[in-house]
Amino acid sequence: MLDFAWLILLFPLLGMVINGFIGNRIGKKRVSRVACAAVGLSFLVAVGVFFSLLLGSEEHGRTVSLFSWITVGDFQIEAALLVDQLSTLMSLVVTGVGFLIHVYSIGYMAEDERYARFFTLLNLFIFSMLTLVLADNFLLLYAGWELVGLCSYMLIGFWFERPAAADAGKKAFLVTRIGDFGFALGVMLIFATFGTLSYGQVFEQAPHTLTTSLATVVTLLLFMGAAGKSAQIPLYVWLPDAMEGPTPVSALIHAATMVTAGVYMVARTHVLFELAPLSMTVVAVIGAATAFFAATIALVQNDIKRVLAYSTISQLGYMFLAVGVGTYASGIFHLTTHAFFKALLFLGAGSVMHGLAGELDLRKMGGLKDKMRITYRTFLAGAAALAGVPLLSGFFSKDEILWHAFNRSVILWLIGIVTALLTSFYAFRAVFLTFWGQPRERELFEHAHESPPIMTRPLVVLAVLAVAGGLIGLPHLSAIEGFLEPVFASHETVHATEASGILEWVLMAVSAVVAIVGIVLAQYMYLVAPGLPDRLSKRYAPLYKLLFNKYYVDELYGFLFVRPFQRLAHFLDSVVDPVKLHDALFIRPFRGLTSFLDLVLDLQVIDGIVNGVGSFFAKSSQVLRRVQTGYVRNYALSILVGAVLIITYLVLSGGLR
């Protein structure tokens, strides 16, 4: 079965090609069928591969070589797929969640003019993401990495008529590009060090070849790429703006799959990160800081999609915290559960938007509980999973990360647990403001309606996954850790011995209590005493404004980077611009030279000679033509004179003798 892994890639590619070329002619229904079938078939193949790995004898997965991609002398890059437990699990998440979101999009995008374009791009994205995940070497990984960035750009700016969407697309592309720059440098450094880019060879040689300092440089460069793609401090600013894209895109790319590429990459290259303790610390600290930082911003945002966007950044921070403390399996576990519940939350938010004619402002919603029953229940399940309500998926995965963080450092755990409190608070703030209480805008409320079944069914499936997804990672029975063990073998065993004792259960109880406290707090503030948030925001106005304006980070970046660059660009444009420089150096002198040649040399000298010759003959012929009198006598006389002269000459010179 593993040999058929390339089919996972093939189907989305086919779907993209079909919809890309004839999508506009075959009608919306066929477009959506092709796109969904492509991802669905891909998912089925992934399931097959998954089970053959789970039940089969091959422990370490396999490299499936497709073709030789680049061959220059000894240097060779294979287009090869690494089919192991990690990449298979990622493929399952990408194609599974991707399929549900494709189905949802049929309903969500039904009215859109560029329907075929949308599904083409979604298929292209699935293909690119799978390339990234299944790649067997750093170059193919990088190709997939850039392709998903491209898809992200085009899908954020899908409604490019709106300047905000076009700008958000550009911002996302440029900010992630900063990270990609580091990533590319890291890949080059790996090649310079090892002379190969294949995972297997690099990881095998790394312990012997890499010094600690070199490993630190390489891994920090790689992490720079991860921070850009996965929206970590300081490169997270693009993700909230990316919500300008269609909601299924936010769910698929900016919550469930693409943004987790950084986590996946760190987990995939953990062999290198293990060699650089400093980098591990950096990853963990940045993860924890981002988790906390983004969660505080999410507390006060009024746009439902932005709340979810900051929540995504925060949860990605948790994942980096997990891989930073060396527990890759729990990072991947959280990645998986997060894909379920965050996709669910985004799609739920999309469903609310759909029912409210595009309204996103939490302050205008309220009381939708009974109008949108399915959306409400599934959204509630997603929010509960996000908040970490005991026994739901988010609880297990987050708790495991916190437990491992505790083993590393109490401070990291403290940050994590405070963030967990904030998380459950803002998650349920969104739930209460949207679905509970009194409707705040009569008009909107009257027209609110439940979304069509094609949109609610994926919600139900995702809700089931969000609720039950935790079962794959129950503490001490963790199926996912066992499954991923061959990939992360050397490290999990170390942690497994630590994971024991009553302390773990105490910590678990603490996180459960924290989740409940957050929910109760949200209920008190937004349902029992609805005036309280306003009073608080007035009382702590500076803090509120700081959070509401997202710590002014966008403004800071604008001041530090964007405007200086604009000024520099303006300077370069007006002064150093090659065109203008070229103009000054060459064009103007040449223009002077040619005008000299033209006006002086050509018009005066050359034309003067030519005209002078002409007018000389004209003038002299004025005189000479008088000779032609027309009288025969005159001609005869001149003949006579001529003859006399010639004879005289001959006689005098003695020529006759």
């Binding site: 032609q628 009198t629 027309g630 009288y631 025969v632 006598r633 005869a636 006389l637 006579l640």
Partner: protein, 100 residues
């Protein structure tokens, strides 16, 4: 026997009279006649030298000159007749269109 110089002097006198005739007369036919006179004078000179040098070459040239003169008269008179038909005159001063 009359010396050759007499013949040559006569030839020169006739030639000069003919040249003056060409230059001063206006009637085209008279001019044509004067040209014939010049040829006749030249022919006389040729014959004189032929005799003087005891060579027949000069007499051959005279025959050639007579043939040319006959042809020339035929063409020249034809032109004059044609001009006369146009302009009702044979005065060469009237026939002066070919000029500046």
């Amino acid at each position: 026997m009359i010396p050759s110089s007499y013949y040559l002097a006569l030839s020169a006198i006739i030639f000069v009279i003919a040249v003056v005739g060409v230059l001063v007369r206006r009637n085209a036919i008279v001019i044509l006649m004067c040209i014939e006179m010049m040829m006749g004078a030249a022919g006389l000179a040729f014959v004189t030298f032929s005799r003087y040098l005891n060579s027949l070459d000069g007499q051959v040239v005279v025959f050639l000159v007579m043939a040319v003169a006959a042809a020339e008269v035929a063409v020249g008179l034809g032109i004059i007749v044609s001009i006369f038909r146009h302009k009702e005159t044979t005065d060469v001063d009237e026939i002066n269109l070919l000029k500046w």
